[in-house]
Amino acid sequence: MRDNWRLTKNQAALHIRARMICAIRDFFISKDYLEVETPSMITAPIPEPHIDAIPCGDLFLHTSPELYMKRLLAAGYPKIFQICKCFRAGERGAFHLPEFTMLEWYCQGMDYRLLMKECENLIISIVHNLGYGNEIHYQNKTLNLKKPWETISVRDAFTCFAPIQMDEAVKEDLFDEIMVSHIEPHLGIEQPTFIYDYPVSGATLAKAKEEEPDIAERFELYMGGIEIANACSELTDMKEHHTRIEKVQQYRYSMNKPMYPVSDYFLHDIAHMPEAAGIALGVDRLAMIFNNTSVIDDVVAFTPERG
């Protein structure tokens, strides 16, 4: 029994995690969201330049429930949420597990700005449910959760923290490196931070800004320098869907990455996609914040290495 201490070690974290998930359900049910379940084994993973799926027989394990949830949205389910396991090949690090828990929700009629507010409300409601006040301690810093949270555009973040401007970083293919080394460490340190208006090149199914077609209406939430959620105003234009997917396919082909089929069902259903915003939030990452740990291993019972 005593040699099971590795399993008992994370007990407090697993309790917090379970209460978080309870609080998430309470929040969405009280706001008239419908909890849905979509398939984990799918024929056509989401077209993304940098997300690889894990094959499962003739199918793939889903990398996120996005496509199926959007089909529900298009079919007339205006407010839906899901908490599910997602699977991504080759992702393992202090913030990554190849099998992780995602909270995803969509709301018809919202845009990314309104979604930031709802995201704030959700996390504050979880915090209160866990019995914390408006301040939480993370990695020797105090995170103040009083609304409104900090917002900064990606362009301004480059101006503040990076050696070169955003447009140059995109042009020079240095965007990701600078994001990781110069910008992320400054985000969500005193307050949670929404960083918004990303280059459209990295946001496959996000709506572009009308006045700035190179910029997508997309944001990320950071707490303690860690990316917690990714959200956007959803792309609704049918033709643009085809163009974006084609672009991703070309990129993946040129990079010698595995190619995935495109779902005809999705392309068919998306014709009725209403104006909406959607967001994916990493439940494990949020649990890391509430457990004051910088390693994702501390908030799950089992890791792949100790499977």
Partner: protein, 187 residues
């Protein structure tokens, strides 16, 4: 040939014909962006350290190094002495070259000494070493339930987190790769 996804702490690679060891490694992936492999490397000859971020398309040659089984003998004036049991040849490594491996050195421990063109560069202890706990707080009953750990000091001076039921004088097995407690050793 290694790809970036093979990189891990302790891996030795060749850059510009010199051997480097990865001393820190982290997989990161900024939102919707590509996988990046943030690494700290140390030149195994000069000791110079630097940081580098690799992409998944990057590839690496393994470093051209030889390993020889030797025995740890003693430490004298910041130098660690090892001996080849067949030829009785002795080599010395500096504190820096030895690194964290010194946490596991007990008399006559069999280790792998690393050579680059006849030059000793580093040392790898066996994966598992049994060490005696020389200092520990007594076990407060009930702690095993809450799953807490406590720090203890081992015979080599190494401080390590262990389950609370481990007491002074006991022997524990340590995984030298992670530096973590594995299990209690009877007898």
């Amino acid at each position: 040939m290694y790809s970036a996804s093979d990189l891990k702490k302790g891996l030795r690679i060749k850059i510009d014909n010199e051997p480097y060891i990865i001393t820190e490694f982290n997989f990161v992936k900024p939102g919707k962006g590509q996988a990046l492999y943030r690494s700290k490397l140390r030149n195994m000859i000069t000791g110079a350290q630097f940081e580098r971020t690799f992409r998944s398309v990057d590839t690496f040659e393994p470093a051209d190094l030889q390993e020889k089984k030797m025995q740890y003998l003693y430490k004298e004036e910041e130098k660690y002495c090892f001996m080849d049991n067949e030829s009785y040849e002795q080599v010395f490594l500096t504190e820096e070259q030895v690194g964290e491996a010194k946490n596991f050195f007990i008399d006559n421990l069999e280790v792998e000494i690393l050579f680059f063109e006849e030059r000793p560069l580093g040392v790898t202890p066996p994966n598992f070493v049994d060490l005696i706990v020389v200092k520990a707080e007594p076990w407060a009953k009930g702690d095993s339930v809450s799953g807490k750990t406590k720090p203890v000091t081992l015979q080599t001076g190494y401080q390590i987190q262990v389950p609370p039921f481990i007491e002074e004088g006991e022997k524990i097995r340590v995984d030298t790769r992670s530096g973590e407690y594995l299990t209690r050793v009877k007898g």
